[in-house]
């Protein structure tokens, strides 16, 4: 069974220089309370694996939204993403040489993380063939031809930590997501050594019907009960 921890304990667990996957898309589905606490921790040199850099402004008037807080506080030294255009701070820090940014096609990014959590040696995709993505040696093993069509053999991606957001989480760690927040949480929950879910609401095991469980609780190591955290 996963263990319940506080925000402070979650932050304490994450060391300087950790590789961290964060679920979400332009901030939608980021575990906002954990990210906020981490952004105030003074820790840094993180490798952030997240679809994007979120946005400087949030929908509820926040100055910085989701992972944009970590980027703004210069806690990220290396970012693996698919699109960073909505957060100009990423491009700025990259041009200053303060941050390395690796950009991967979004469908490949999702599948590479899935492969990382599913025991697969890689993913064959036609996406990126004939483009500069072919030269990304850290991520592309080789170009393969299968039955006359070319594919890139993309390597799996894993991380030390996955920080994900769930709307309803039961005490067995099972997760139900609200709206479009599930995006990258499903593959990320499988692909990190330590998985921490921030729950909007915690219920007893059994309250989420087994048919409605989206992420099985066996993937989850720790639960932060966001409903019990102020702010």
């Amino acid at each position: 069974m996963p263990k319940f921890i506080t925000l402070a304990e979650a932050v304490e667990m994450i060391p300087d220089g950790a590789s961290i996957m964060v679920s979400g898309f332009m901030g939608c589905g980021n575990p906002h309370k954990i990210i906020d606490a981490l952004s105030k921790s003074g820790k840094g040199n993180f490798k952030l694996i997240c679809n994007d850099g979120a946005q400087p402004g949030g929908p509820m008037g926040e100055d910085y939204y989701g992972v944009a807080k970590l980027i703004h506080n210069r806690q990220v030294k290396h970012m693996v993403a698919t699109h960073v255009g909505l957060n100009p701070e990423v491009g700025k820090q990259m041009n200053e040489g303060a941050m390395r940014v690796d950009l991967i096609p979004q469908g490949s990014f999702a599948e590479m993380i899935r492969a990382g959590g599913a025991g697969l040696g890689g993913v064959l995709t036609p996406t990126g063939v004939g483009t500069i993505v072919e030269d990304y040696k850290d991520y592309v093993h080789s170009v393969q031809e299968i039955d006359g069509r070319k594919y890139l053999l993309m390597k799996p991606i894993r991380a030390d930590f996955a920080l994900i957001s769930g709307h309803i989480v039961d005490t067995a760690g099972n997760i139900w997501y609200k709206g479009a927040t599930r995006n990258f949480a499903l593959p990320m929950a499988t692909a990190a050594d330590i998985v921490i879910v921030e729950a909007d609401r915690v219920v007893e095991a059994g309250e989420i019907e087994p048919e409605n469980v989206v992420t099985s609780g066996i993937f989850v190591d720790y639960i932060v009960d966001g409903g019990k955290v102020s702010g």
Partner: protein, 218 residues
């Protein structure tokens, strides 16, 4: 035409490419206007690559920007019959040929249907996001863009910027005309009556093949 009129003109023409029931993914910016120009008898199903099907604008009651946004981070909702899914499923739909049409912008397109739309080295690095997967996987790829950038052609013999994908574009729609990508090159099938064929060619680096059935663009 001013900028807004040019955009409306281009997107109104792109909307005519949609067939009733098409499953459509629309790029950020101008392409998101396509639904506003659909004929009454054409209904499309809009997919957003961050995991939504049957995307519709949200109302004061249904907007929940914390939980529901489209791929441009705009708050949206889904219509009855819609669904939410994860990014692996979403891109399985996209690469797997389950999306009928994608409409997206371009920095450059060339006569072989190569597309560049994700990076200007040293200047702009937005990233490819879902574009590389979309143009590889969607059944029909429509590029909507202004014909030139500050007077310089964007429709080239060979793309100069890093590619998004090779030989992926089916149709190019600009304020000057409509061009089909064919094995022989770009065929000009429709022209904005405000321009002559010579003017369109002068604004295009690739050599245009004028269709024998060239029609006014409407």
């Amino acid at each position: 035409m001013d900028k807004d009129n040019i955009k409306s003109y281009i997107i109104a023409r792109a909307a005519k490419e949609m067939r009733d029931g098409d499953i459509v993914n629309l790029g950020i910016g101008m392409p998101t206007m396509v639904p506003n120009f659909l004929p009454k008898d054409v209904k499309v199903i809009i997919q957003a690559e961050n995991g939504l099907m049957r995307v519709i604008p949200c109302t004061e009651e249904t907007c929940e920007p914390i939980y529901k946004v489209d791929a441009g981070a705009t708050p949206v909702s889904v219509a009855p019959g819609g669904s939410y899914f994860d990014s692996c499923t979403s891109f399985g739909m996209i690469r797997g040929g389950h999306i009928d049409v994608t409409v997206l912008g371009a920095l450059e397109v060339d006569e072989k249907g190569n597309l560049s739309n994700w990076i200007i080295p040293g200047k702009k690095l937005p990233g490819m996001g879902g574009a590389m997967d979309l143009v590889v996987g969607a059944k029909k790829v429509i590029v909507t863009m202004e014909h030139t950038q500050k007077g310089e052609p964007k429709i080239l013999k060979n793309c100069r910027l890093p590619l998004t994908a090779v030989n992926c574009v089916d149709l190019i729609i600009t304020e000057m005309g409509v061009m089909e990508v064919t094995p022989k090159g770009l065929v000009l099938t429709e022209i904005n009556p405000e321009y002559s064929v010579e003017e369109v060619q002068a604004a295009t680096e690739a050599v245009l093949i004028v269709s024998p059935g060239l029609k006014p663009m409407s």
